[in-house]
Symmetry: none
Subunit: 232 residues, 4 copies
DNA sequence: CATGAATGAGGTTTCATTCAT
DNA sequence: TATGAATGAAACCTCATTCAT
């Protein structure tokens, strides 16, 4: 009995090793340019072994992306569960996302691939459904937070929380993607720091969904933080 | 001399024919799935001939995308030039973008590819710079509009107009992309109509950049329009 | 000591089980198309276990073929040993071969593989020599029969009995192979029943090796049998 | 118009070059052991180019075999058309086949593959039908010859000429195959020269299909030839 | 210019065979 | 002995791109 479990665990570990090797290659080369040969070499395995665990390059890509997604969602989850203040929770989620962008920005590119329908068609049903349920959990958490916010009169009640969640997440993600791709270009051409623009965008969107009272709380929070940063 | 010009014109026509054929194929299949063979067949030319006019598949894809971009920008330009009211201009631009989405939504996918740095690396310098300057004109127009808005106290002055433009355009485009890809999924799973969410997002973003006074004007406009629609 | 013997017997039994499973798969799919996975599944064993007992797919194939060969040779042996009349023996051997073809025709394909030198190169020395000695016994028996026939003036004496044996067996086997492969084609295209052609071929070859006197005996035998068949 | 024809011819030439390269490789290694890479290298072409002209390794193999078949059939055709004496024609065909065996024996292996139904399943419809019609011509020629022989009372009339043709060709081919594979073995073990056995088999089969009168003519022919050989 | 043919590259797939446990 | 996993090899297949005419 224990043997079967151990085997199971080892299989998982092997899969994780492959995903980790694939991550390195995909981060460096992107989906199209990366080859299964490169990934096999990075994993120190044969190409056939990769196909033993993942039915296609796209599936493997999705598995890598899901790793990033889970990491990010994990942080969100933690904040949502432990931060009693909705305003603070939103703020900390922004911080977490920014931190994620700073340290693992390549995932952002990957996330943007995930929603392309073109891409989804090439992925196995199993992976797609795994991915879908993961996403679902994520949306549920954010929507839940916003619903609580509405109840607490923190979030405006004239917009459907689900729609709000979509707008919130879409706005944030898309600006990150742009920041990842065009940061240098905007700096060079118009002296714009997209990192700062991301903050601006966040603030605008959060402002837009808060009730007037909560907006004051949010501004106070930003102010306090700003002061704290400048003190250190 | 006239002969050279005629040749030039014919060459342009041939390029346009190729782009039009490529558009049909890319619309149906997407960048990765579409093949040069299919495009050649659609254009009733040989594959090699495509390469006489475009150095790579990506270049051709970009050429198609640029066609859509120019069409959309043309409409924006016209509104910006002829609509004296900033608020009305923003509103009409939203309408134009929504109309564009309704009729040529496949371009939205393409636009999202354009900003991927992975993609840009595979494109010829010439095409890239053409694309960049086209984009530049576009940004200039929007930023110009917002600057005028700041001067007229229509647009809030505490956010850099360039940043605002980026946020505005990025938010709008990203929701369109999501609507293109996930419309059915959201309808099915949570009974969300992403078309409506797009409107919500627009309204939220525009609200967020207007001064309080202008916001009233905007709401009046929406109200009037709403009434007009329900009358007909 | 008894334990070792039991082990030995069990090992043999296991080998036989594998050969039987392999037989089913090879009969259905042929050497090239059949896979070790399929055989392993049919044997309810892992692929690796097959390799504990047989060093290669070809060896296993040969083991299966040898089973058929032994069965057929056994019948021949029995006839040769117990049938005093050479003419009757030849006739009964033909009958036995035809019966074998009717009930286990798939072996005929396998036999034809055996003689391909390409094939032999891929087989273990041990298996090859087992196979060779089996074959040797077979040839020895037929040649012995023919030699006896020569002594009894049943078989013509101007052709070497060994050559005769080769011709006899080769002709018979090759027509069977053709019948196995092309039966339907000949029926369809030229309304030829290769089963009947096999009989024709046998008769021609036997006719060709008998002395004139024996030929009459053979014809009488055929005639008697023909009458018996038509009576029933 | 001439251009199209020239292109056509060049395409044929290229195909022939590939077939010739493949022939060398298949002769050396056999169907299973030979790889498309080796053939590509031998042809000094890329593997992809091979697949441009032949849809599979099996098709290419068949094309090679067909080359040999056509060569052999050509010689038969020539004899059948120009040799007025049926007996002489049969004899010269045997000589031609023996000569073919001496100089291009590897084809014999290939021919034996052709009739395996296993093999045929892996071949394109086009190639299969080309092959079938080639074979048909061949059978038609031999059957025609035998029919003429029956009319001229050279060939016995109590066996269907088609069946006779099958027996004749099958016997001859199968002994050649055995000679190709087992020549050394028989020489070593029983001091049998299969080359001579082939002659024996031919003589037996031809004897078996001739009328008594023709058989005398045939023996005279063999005798004359034997004398001629021993004189030189 | 236009094109048919060629090609290098790499993804996908399948397998016989081997290895570590 | 038995096995799950790994693997090297190669067929198969598709394409973007290039070349020779």
């Amino acid at each position: 009995m224990g043997i079967i479990e151990r085997k199971e665990r080892e299989k998982e570990r092997r899969k994780d090793e492959i995903v980790e090797a694939a991550r390195r290659v995909f981060f460096e080369k992107g989906l199209v340019t990366a080859t299964m040969d490169e990934i096999a070499e990075a994993a120190e395995l044969s190409k056939a072994t990769l196909y033993l665990h993942f039915p296609s390059k796209e599936d493997l890509y999705l598995a890598v992306a899901m790793g990033g997604l889970r990491a990010l969602h994990g942080k969100f989850q933690e904040i949502i569960e432990h931060e009693p203040s909705i305003v603070r929770a939103l703020h900390r989620m922004k911080e977490a996302y920014m931190e994620f962008f700073r340290t693992q920005r390549q995932y952002v590119q990957m996330f943007s691939f995930l929603q392309m329908s073109q891409f989804h068609k090439q992925v196995s049903d199993h992976m797609r459904s795994t991915c879908d349920s993961e996403n679902d959990k994520h949306w549920e958490a954010i929507i839940g937070l916003l619903r609580r916010g509405v109840e607490q009169k923190i979030i405006r009640d004239d917009i459907d929380p689900t729609e709000m969640a979509i707008v919130l997440w879409t706005n944030a993600s898309s600006l990150m993607l742009r920041a990842d791709n065009e940061h240098d270009m905007w700096k060079r051409r118009r002296n714009i720091d997209l990192r700062k623009t991301m903050e601006t965008s966040f603030r605008m969107t959060i402002d837009a969904i808060l009730t007037p009272a909560a907006r004051l709380e949010y501004q106070a929070l930003l102010h306090a933080e700003h002061a704290a940063v400048h003190q250190s």
